[in-house]
Amino acid sequence: MPKIKVPRKSTIVDMTAMCDVAFLLLTFFILTAKFRPSQLVPIDIPTSRAEQKVKEDIITISVDKAGNAYLNMSIPKRRIEVLDKIIAKYGDKYPNVAAMTQQQKNQFGNLELIGVPIQSIPQMVAIKPEQLQDYKFPGIPKDSTDNQLGEWIMAARYAYADDDINKLKFAIKGDKTSNIKAVQRVIEVMKEKDVYSFNIITSLEGNND
């Protein structure tokens, strides 16, 4: 007897291709997530419910756990401008900084953050980037006897005044656990230099608490 053959078709779809795509995307996201600017000085910022975005051109004063202050300009070009103003204004105090070559200044512009006293900047520029990870930053002096943070703020004001003073915006980025006195000292220095309005950088808080 002749058999009627019904062709059986499998309903199983080959998942291999889909799996490939999924893992490709996964790899991509993991890599991009990890490659945000690595923090030379770890700062665990507090959370808040503020929703304002951080401006692109901003000068951040960071305060770490130990209460040391660091400075960072978000745009490398600004760093060089501000450094030039430091030399113009306070060059006599720091002859080794005033003697920096243009190449050294460009290297300085590529540094992520300024975490050393002004007189140590030439040495800091000379440090190789891979060694920078283990480097212990002493922070920018901010006491009244050697108020270099104030000098930086002043220099920043002069540098932005050449362009547009309204673009100048300061932000404070403090560690959750840093003592309030260090932060208050930074605010005090800013007030001394007529900076009364600034941002506080926080991370977005979930609704769970």
């Binding site: 998942m15 999924a22 996201f29 808040s48 560690d175 003592n179 009364y196």
Partner: protein, 193 residues
């Protein structure tokens, strides 16, 4: 691709009587795809959440000559202390400090309660905002997170008038005594003021 050909060659079947069972080595990849996409969504969500945001803070000018008198009934004082403790009292006279915490039921509720009281007495101002005045004071043992938390609560409760001030001696004494002021001096008549 993923499966290996397990079928024995063409001529083998006829010689031996036994037939080996064909086992498929095909693996079902569906759960693996599920997992991969789960991880993708996790990483996408966490990266977008860690973006920093900014909060505005304005400090008063240092050399302000004119001083405004404030109605005592509008004032709420918050003092951040160590171990995530907040002391608070109403008015300008340091008396009967109470403690609370940074939760939504704690400090936020206190600000909201005070706002209700202020509204009952003074009503809203011309812009429709509450007229409460919050004075934030930070003790030396407080940490930066406490300051941000208080400023955040002020922002959440839509408090328009607030200031960060230094602790007075009488407040320091009150905190050291667990909220009680032992000397009869009030903040205005405290020595050295």
């Amino acid at each position: 691709m993923a499966d290996i050909d397990t079928s024995q060659g063409g001529g083998h079947g006829k010689k031996g009587g036994k037939r080996s069972k064909k086992l498929s080595t095909r693996v079902d990849l569906t759960p693996m795809v599920d997992l991969a996409f789960l991880l993708i969504s996790f990483f996408m969500l966490t990266t977008s959440l860690s973006k920093p945001v900014a909060m505005d803070l304005a400090m008063p000018k240092k050399d302000v000559k004119e001083k405004q008198d404030v109605k005592e009934s509008k004032v709420l004082n918050l003092i951040a202390d160590k171990d995530n403790k907040v002391w608070y009292y109403e008015g300008l006279h340091v008396a009967g400090l109470k403690t609370t915490d940074y939760s939504a039921q704690g400090i936020r509720q206190i600000i909201l309660d005070k706002q209700k009281k202020v509204k009952a007495i003074h009503g809203d101002d011309e812009k429709g905002d509450n007229q409460i005045i919050v004075l934030v004071k930070l003790s030396d043992d407080a940490n930066y997170k406490n300051m941000v938390d208080i400023l955040d609560e002020i922002d959440i409760t839509k408090t328009k008038i607030y200031a960060i001030q230094d602790l007075s001696d009488i407040e320091k004494e009150a905190i050291a005594n667990g909220g009680q002021v032992k000397s009869f001096a009030t903040s205005e008549t405290a020595p050295g003021k």
